[in-house]
């Protein structure tokens, strides 16, 4: 059962081949049997999942089943879940039982999907390896001595190891696409504002966006259809109808214009990754696409811009964790300052502290223009590069990450080197564009991701390109050894 795609499972549920309760129990069993090795879950919500599965079975019997009714999924522990611990991978929220549901949680529930648990992640989504989690690192199912990527490492590893057919993630600088690439699965970051941020614990509000992890583009289309939509409770949510993301999946790729930015194939790209990506692009040629070289001349500014904008917004967002209203509170405070300082000092881990410090500095009196304003200007240049490119091409392609999964601990002491693992994904968040990573082969036995970037609200086009490629390739069906 665990080898079937979400779409196949949905068909089985409707035709009575299996019940949601059986499917949910099968996933719970997979987690019990395999997750001790991976550490991809922070919380497994067995009793709630079984109750939701029984409700889904009743809905299916009554003929009220949608495409996600009865499908088990794992939810990144950044989304608030009413009555269930929502830790955000931090000691700060280790005791936090969310008092309300995030909009995405609510929408998945309304779609009849069965939440099976909350997945491990880098602390407050700050990291590219899942090593900054208070709950310990997640292991990559393809090689347990390597990282799964981050920050949504648990969600990616759980799908790659066939523990669940789908999961949710969030992507501020690559946190869906980079772990999808490193774990050999499909991950989609929608256009900024497409999926509601309400109840999704904020890291960098002008960059954060939620999206799905699945094995295939077809499954991702179904997940995105449920997650997306206007939400008046998110002030940057975009009021625009949601496409039927499955409608265009099979459209022919004849005449699709693909752009390859020279900047994404230069120094720093691992040769094996480059070869796999080039081979994948050749497949798109065979499918009828045309390929053009393009340039994104301000690419080199994207990581430095991000490491001003993201920490600045993080230092502001994380000021709400003060030991007063929720979360960790230090014992026996001397005075109010001591309460704030020690609650935050004890509750936050190293990388979160580093980013709060960088952001506080960048926003402090006398430095605002030199850092934050300058970065917002550079951000405009980076966005303009993409707008220029989309005059010539429909989809921009390249590698998702410069290398395959690196070893646990390899970059843990060198923040700048860790930041550079998101070099191809970060510009997309700064511009607010939709992008997807799909499996495109292997290098040294480890998965490689192909990165596809579209124009605003062109998720359907990316899903179409991904789906057609997955009709002629089988990388997305490969399962890591030991998890077959």
């Amino acid at each position: 059962m665990h080898q079937k795609s979400l779409v196949e499972l949905a068909a089985d549920l409707r035709s009575g081949v299996c019940s949601s309760e059986e499917l949910t129990r099968a996933c719970l069993q997979r987690i019990a049997g395999h997750d001790q090795r991976l550490n991809s879950f922070v919380t497994v919500t067995e009793s709630q999942a079984l109750a939701a599965a029984q409700a889904a079975d009743a809905a299916i019997k009554a003929g009220n089943a949608g495409p996600l009714t009865g499908i088990p999924f794992a939810h990144k522990d950044i989304f608030c879940t009413d009555g269930v611990k929502t830790s955000c991978g931090s000691r700060m929220l280790d005791n936090f039982i969310a008092p309300y549901d995030a909009t995405v949680t609510e929408k998945m529930h309304e779609a009849g999907a069965v939440m099976i648990g909350k997945t491990n992640m880098d602390e407050f989504a700050m990291g590219s390896s899942n090593e900054t989690s208070f709950y310990g690192p997640v292991k990559n199912p393809w090689d347990e001595t390597t990282v799964p990527g981050g920050s949504s490492g648990g969600s990616a590893a759980a799908v790659a190891a066939r523990l669940v057919p789908a999961s949710t993630g969030t992507d501020t600088g690559g946190s869906i696409r980079q772990p999808a690439a490193l774990c050999g699965i499909t991950g989609l970051k929608p256009t900024y504002g497409r999926v509601s941020r309400y109840g999704m614990i904020a890291f960098a509000s002008s960059l954060d966006q939620a999206g799905p992890f699945t094995r295939s583009a077809e499954d991702a289309a179904v997940m995105l259809g449920a997650m997306a939509g206007f939400d008046p409770r998110d002030s940057t949510s975009v009021d625009r109808p949601v496409d039927d993301y499955t409608a265009q999946l099979n459209a022919p790729l004849q005449g699709l214009r693909i752009g390859l930015p020279g900047e994404y194939f230069g120094d720093g790209l691992d040769a094996g990754v480059g070869d796999a990506v080039s081979a994948a692009i050749d497949e798109f040629r065979k499918l009828g696409a045309t390929v053009t070289d393009i340039t994104l001349p301000n690419t080199h500014l994207s990581v430095p811009t991000y490491y001003v904008v993201a920490p600045a917004e993080c230092s502001s967002n994380l000021s709400r964790f003060d030991g007063v209203r929720f979360g960790h509170r230090a014992g026996n405070p001397r005075d109010l300052t001591d309460l704030y300082t020690r609650s935050r000092g004890e509750g936050f881990g190293d990388e979160v502290k580093r980013r709060i410090l960088v952001g506080t500095y960048a926003l402090s009196a006398g430095y605002y223009d030199a850092y934050y304003l300058k970065a917002q200007q550079a951000r405009h240049l980076i966005r303009d590069d993409f707008m220029q490119a989309f005059k010539q091409v429909d989809v921009i392609m390249g590698p998702t990450a410069p290398s395959v999964a690196f070893k646990l601990g390899e970059k843990a002491d060198d923040p700048v080197s860790m930041y550079l693992s998101d070099i191809y994904t970060i510009a997309v968040n700064l511009a607010g564009l939709p992008a997807m990573s799909i499996p495109a082969g292997f290098s040294n036995g480890m998965p490689v991701g192909l990165h596809m970037v579209g124009n605003y609200f062109e998720e359907s086009r990316l899903l179409n390109a991904g789906h057609r490629y997955q009709q002629v390739s089988d990388w997305h069906t490969r399962t890591p050894q030991g998890f077959e």
Binding site: P304, T360, Q377, A378, P415, V416
Partner: protein, 95 residues
Amino acid sequence: MSLDASDVVKIAHLARLGINVDDIPGYARNLSDILSFVEQLNSVDTTGVEPLAHPLEATQRLRPDVVTEGNNREHFQQVAPETESGLYLVPQVIE
């Protein structure tokens, strides 16, 4: 840009963020590395470029000023570390 230990202490105070004395040199080194790295931004001329705050250049949406939520104080205070009579408790601020 290079930060020393006293800069780190000052920034940590601004952020009301407790850090261990032993960790200060490490933070000073990491922060200096990060700031030197972001200084690449100075290589580009941004004269006259509008800062981009929202990727879609959307402005904040407003809604009518009417009550839309009920009073959920008790429910939300269940996750608070210390409360009394509907109030959040903090150490004494005024003598």
